[in-house]
């Protein structure tokens, strides 16, 4: 295993977003704060999801996790598409790095960006409604696994897409609906039966529900079920990403 090589690629991928942190970290934090201000203000007195938990408090973990997931996905996918389009992926293709090294570095950097943005959202929003830290280990576990899975999904999307508009299709028609139907803004039990059922097919729902469990100690489903589903999704998506990297899908003719 070429550890120096893997570490170099990881560091390069982190530097890539960090050099434009205003756009890749600060901007998504601002977006999440806007959601909180508007939805929190309008709905605070009208919606109560968990007993004794205000709507703003309920919303904060959802927004944090949503930011983690979206930014983890955006990092690996946009980095790959950019490198493919500008042609500089050739420097990586002629290197001796294995598919494991590519995977570790791209997903690793996606996790770092996701967690940075998530932490940023948490640090800014926590002043609006200080959360309880009921079962903090779930916070860590679901943030890491969720970011990892979306980083791997971004890798798959980045390998598949040849252009930015194909990337946008993936983002707008898969990632966005899955995020919004995951219970970021509500408990899925407030939805009509069909949409409840659909939401239960969505791995994002289990990520957010498990993550929220860490703050409030209550959740829609058992955190162990969520862990099993999110873990299995991570393994499945990673398996696809590794397979595509190994066969050189759209990379090596």
């Amino acid at each position: 295993m070429n550890f120096a090589g893997t570490e170099t690629l990881l560091r390069k991928e982190i530097l890539r977003f960090w050099k434009v942190a205003f756009q890749t970290v600060a901007a998504p934090v601002l977006t999440a704060v806007m959601y909180l201000l508007i939805f929190g203000h309008v709905l605070e007195d009208r919606v109560q999801v968990f007993p004794g938990v205000g709507y703003t408090s309920f919303l904060i973990p959802g927004l944090v996790m949503m930011s983690v997931l979206q930014n983890a996905f955006a990092n690996s996918s946009s980095s790959l598409v950019q490198s493919k389009m500008s042609g500089n992926l050739v420097f990586l293709l002629v290197s001796p790095l294995s598919h494991w090294a590519w995977f570790a570095a791209y997903v690793g950097a996606a996790v770092v960006r996701g967690l940075m943005v998530g932490l940023g959202v948490l640090l800014v929003t926590v002043w609006f409604a200080p959360p309880a830290w009921a079962e903090p280990w779930w916070i860590v576990v679901f943030a890491l696994l969720g970011a990892g899975m979306l980083g791997a999904l971004g890798l798959v999307a980045g390998l598949w897409a040849d252009k930015f508009d194909q990337m946008a299709v993936f983002q707008n028609f898969i990632i966005m609906p899955m995020t919004f139907l995951s219970g970021v803004f509500y408990s899925v039990y407030s939805l009509p039966g069909l949409w409840q059922w659909v939401s239960h097919l969505n791995p994002f729902f289990y990520m957010i529900d498990g993550f929220r469990r860490g703050f409030f100690g209550v959740s829609d489903v058992s955190p162990w079920l969520s862990l099993a589903i999110v873990g299995a999704s991570f393994v499945a998506v990673s398996g696809i990403a590794l397979r595509l990297l190994k066969t050189g899908y759209k990379l090596r003719h």
């Binding site: 070429n2 550890f3 120096a4 090589g5 570490e7 170099t8 690629l9 560091r11 390069k12 530097l15 890539r16 050099k19 434009v20 490198s83 500008s86 042609g87 500089n88 050739v90 420097f91 990586l92 293709l93 002629v94 290197s95 001796p96 790095l97 294995s98 050189g248 090596r252 003719h253």
Partner: protein
Amino acid sequence: MPAIAFQQVGKTYSGARGPLRALDGVSFNIERGEFFGLLGPNGAGKTTLISILAGLARATEGRVQVMGHDVVADYAAARKSLGIVPQELVFDPFFSVRETLRIQSGYFGVRHNDAWIDELLAELGLADKADANMRQLSGGMKRRVLVAQALVHRPPVIVLDEPTAGVDVELRQTLWQFIARLNREGHTVLLTTHYLEEAEALCGRIAMLKQGRVVALDRTSALLAGTASTMLRFKTDHALPAALAPLARVTGRSVQLTAHDAAEVEALLGTLRGAGVKVEDLEIGRADLEDVFLEIMQGAHA
């Protein structure tokens, strides 16, 4: 063990208009320490062959080895032995020249490489650009960085895919002096170029590709000796007589005709005089690689 071994390499692309045979049974070796030229017209398969060597493409059949390492089964060792200067002028806009080189070095598992990076920067005239962002560099400067990136892990085999396309005279000189020095120090060099005078001056041995097949493979001197060795060159404003027109290579006013011996030269001049063609700047010279190249490309019907 040769530096590079191509064994029956074939490549078929599946295109919209049916399969395209880019390479067909290409076999030859490049020995260690050689300065080897790979020539051929556009679409002959040069870049495909180099892509397979570098792992950017996969051969449909056959195998390729670099320093004894198979480029598929043992890709990590094969790629560590190779330094590729790609044809396209590509760069990563997020980084400076020095960062670019440190990153490339790191990919190959080489840390703490600043002494060699500084030497590369100095040799390629990039020392004062070390901290400039890649976006700020001119085309020629970007090309130099590509060369430095290819050499940053000190590969024993260097592959230059048309490195002087669109490059000014000064950089060509700097580049060739540096590459020639590396070659003297034992590096194997594989060069593809459209500038045949460069290939003639630099390469000890040459392979010519046409439509995916090797149509010539020999020492440069043998290629030059083995062909019609005399060329008649002149300038004229007149149209050539019908008997000579298909044999001539015409560039504007300049005309070149092949002549194998003195009698043929006399016959050609006689025909020209008979047709009333007024000839200026007449010279008789040895064939150069361009003549050999054209003769082989016209003669080889793959």
